[in-house]
Chain length 200, copies 2
């Protein structure tokens, strides 16, 4: 069975749980407290030298890190990744945008506020986070989903931290395109927060 | 003909030029001065709402942003991307690592020093940059290349800013695995800095 090295507070880990839910694939969760350094122990670093969750472990022992790489692998051949290679590249474009221009600002602001109660430096995180939302809004005012008009792992990747932007004290009121898209994502079959130890 | 919206100082754009050189694919370059806001004009934002180079434009007008998404698209079906889907996922794992844990520290330190003459905040960039190099070193002490023992776009993605780490005033002396890997990358056929307007 798949083992997900996980953290229930992490949006990056949430992405993987959400796709596994859509796919109906059973998995076992191992929870790590990132704030206590549980992903920096020698045992965990032997699994992932980068010391981060989520990490997906297969029954033969192979491991795969980086949430969006995990999504891309699991979505191969499913409805959650278009088959056309240019559309796949557009999915990747949005996923690299997420990790470079969205997550380091919105997710970090949320982490500081929600888990560390730290406010210093928030203004710059918000400024860059709103820039990322502006880019999404431009696209989502004219399209139902991020790539090709259908729900894909690009939407899962960007939904993860956008739908909890309020926990970063960010306001989605000026973003009607994003708010309609959040609703469309939440209406997808199999959309669920997977928190149980195992499901089948 | 392919048009690369480009900047000769950018390591992200360099990745695309290096792969195009390996592939022997002709392209036309349009140079932008990022420091003068040339990627934030209405004309450029119409091409890429994220306002960043590199941006690849195809003869039919379609565009693709994000350097690593461009690499993945161009490398499909070539020797620069393994055919196996798990190996492709490992390539993506390293490319997401590059954009999340390597580029924001090493490339930004280099940009501050090399282009802006700014030193404030460098220590934190260096600390996180060396963490990224530590992760690479662990892997490259035991492997010739990042994925599956053969040169791929994962190597191109991480070579781009690692081979100019000295411009960020970072020292590769404690990283013999990385230094040997840099040499191996530079020995690959077609390895060249492409700076001319067009080649064929």
């Amino acid at each position: 069975m798949l083992v997900l090295h996980d953290n229930l507070g992490s949006g990056n880990a949430y992405k993987v749980r959400l796709l596994l839910s859509h796919l109906g694939r059973p998995f076992r969760r191992i929870e790590y407290d990132v704030t206590k350094g549980e992903t920096r122990t020698p045992e965990f670093l032997a699994l992932n030298p980068d010391g981060r969750i989520p990490l997906l472990q297969f029954s033969d022992g192979r491991t795969l890190a980086q949430s969006n790489a995990i999504l891309f692998y699991l979505a191969q051949g499913t409805d959650y990744l278009p088959g056309d290679s240019f559309a796949q590249a557009k999915v990747l474009q949005w996923m690299f945008f997420e990790q470079y221009s969205h997550e380091p600002f919105i997710a970090v602001a949320r982490y500081w506020l929600h888990f560390l109660d730290q406010r210093e430096g928030l203004e710059e995180k918000w400024r860059r986070g709103y820039q990322a939302l502006d880019v999404m809004e431009t696209h989502l005012c004219a399209a139902a989903f991020l790539v090709g008009g259908t729900y894909s792992i690009a939407d899962i990747a960007l939904y993860a931290y956008t739908h909890v932007a309020h926990e970063a004290e960010m306001d989605l009121a000026p973003y009607p395109g994003i708010r309609r898209w959040l609703d469309r994502v939440a209406e997808q079959p199999g959309h669920a927060l997977i928190t149980q130890e195992e499901f089948s």
